[in-house]
Amino acid sequence: MSLSVRDLSVAFGRRAPAVESVGFELADGERLGVIGESGSGKSVTSLALMGLLPEYARVTGSVSLDGQELLGLGDRELSKLRGEKMSMVFQEPMTALDPTMRVGRQIAEAYRLHHPRSGAAAREQVETVLDKVGFTDARRVSLSYPHELSGGQRQRVLLAMAVVNKPGLIIFDEPTTALDVLVQAEVLQLIDATLTATGASALFISHNIAVVSQVCTRAVVMRGGRIVEDGPIAELFEHPKHPYTRALVEAAAHE
């Protein structure tokens, strides 16, 4: 799906805006990286796209998904779009799964929200999608509680939950930051493969330009709530224009 963000600003109360006049275009099937340090407004941007900011946040500008304006939609309309057309993978696999629910049921619920009256089909779908994210023992995993799984396993479950309805746009908010380096590489490969297989567009948020470069070809760099530079990642690496981008590239080289 294509996504068009224009002049997006987010402010909380009377404080300085967390996001200011952010704009970018995402073509169907394209992957865009969003790079920036914590507090740069990248997570707020992603939550604003999903319509998940608290009510007291003032969001202005325009976000359109395949031509449909999302800002100003009510919770009911947004709930229909979320999961079905666009979904999100969160940073903390430790906290992004409900501790009181078996993971299979959590994925099944996500499926059934958009496919009512489908008990048996949902169960089948859960195993299929768990298979797809690399679990060889899908049935056992689906009966586990989140605390019985490792960080990498949980992140794969979250990925399964995000793709179970085959959305056209997936937002990844620092999906590998909380993981060990080896697991990180594995999950990145999986994300890459999943996106290639489904043809979904993706917004990939990270503070690490090297990580972004493994999934995306194009990226925007954010700082202080604004986009300071954008372009192909190879270009950002070789000829960073903004001093901040230069610092990020150097930091990545040291890591």
Binding site: L47, M50, L52, P54, E55, Y56, D75, R76, S79, K80, L81, R82, G83, E84, S87, M88, F90, Q91, E92, T95, A96, L97, D98, P99, T100, M101, Q106, E109, A110, L113, H114, L158, M161, A162, N165
Partner: protein, 270 residues
């Protein structure tokens, strides 16, 4: 120490429940039949706890009194939870003016003395177990609303709520499926503390004659009856007093024990 609280609480509460259950099938004597010849007897084999000013066996009345204490506890706490928990969850999830409104109203109810409310209700509808339960229930609503709101705020900060919303779960469904199961431990603790308060309040209302009618045995009513002969038969006041203390202590210990047993941070520290 933690385990001790839980076990002692369970034992004391269990004792009250047993007494109530036992009274349904058996009491040593008729708990309401006046026997003028047996007035104010001391403890003996025939009457282990003695008799009261009407010649009624105190043990029998005590057992039956457990019934009304538990009934009032269950109904008033149930009422408070059914109203308070949804309000608290709503306030916690919506925030803003909804939260302000719910919390300010609950402050007002909280500041209004339960006793005054009971007198008011009794004046309008007549004193009965039902008015006592409603009065106690209403004045316990704020406690449940506050606890649920605090728990909800904590849960709402967790990513799994965002993740559920991101997969298209509507706000009401999120409340039922993800928020409630994760705050049920706070509600349980609040319920056991509320139980203790309810038992005490019911005793106070019966003592004042605003609750259960005089003929029905209640612990508070027994205290009131013992007053007239307090100096000739002081033991008569001791038994219902002990029963109330036992139930209140039991529910409080159970509440504390539950809180400690269910708090994951404390559990990990073990």
């Amino acid at each position: 120490m933690r385990r001790f609280q839980l076990w002692a609480g369970t034992a004391l509460v269990g004792l009250v429940v047993l007494a109530a259950l036992l009274s349904l099938v058996w009491t040593p004597y008729d708990p309401v039949q006046v026997v003028p010849a047996d007035r104010l007897l001391g403890p003996s084999l025939a009457h282990p706890l003695g008799t009261d000013g009407f010649g009624i066996d105190i043990l029998s009345r005590l057992l039956v009194g457990a019934r009304s204490a538990l009934l009032v506890g269950v109904v008033s706490v149930g009422l408070a939870a059914v109203v308070g928990v949804p309000l608290g969850v709503l306030a916690g999830m919506r925030g803003g003016w909804v939260s302000e409104l719910v919390m300010r109203i609950s402050d007002i109810v909280f500041a209004f003395p339960a006793l005054l409310l009971a007198i008011l209700l009794a004046a309008v509808y007549g004193g009965s177990t039902a008015t006592a339960m409603v009065a106690i229930g209403i004045s316990t609503i704020p406690a449940f609303a506050r606890t649920s709101r605090a728990g909800t705020l904590e849960v709402m900060a967790e990513d799994y709520v965002l993740a559920a919303r991101a997969s298209g779960t509507s706000a009401p469904t999120t409340a039922i499926r993800h928020v409630l199961p994760n705050i049920v431990q706070f509600i349980g603790v609040q319920a056991s503390v509320g139980f203790a308060t309810a038992v005490l309040a019911e005793a106070a209302l019966s003592y004042l004659g605003l609750g259960t009618p005089r003929a029905v045995p209640t612990w508070g009513g027994m205290l009131r009856d013992s007053q007239d002969t307090l100096f000739t038969a002081p033991l008569q006041a001791l038994w219902p007093g002990l029963a109330i203390a036992c139930a209140v202590l039991g529910f409080n210990l159970l509440g504390d024990g539950l809180r400690d047993a269910l708090d994951p941070r404390l559990r990990e520290a073990k």
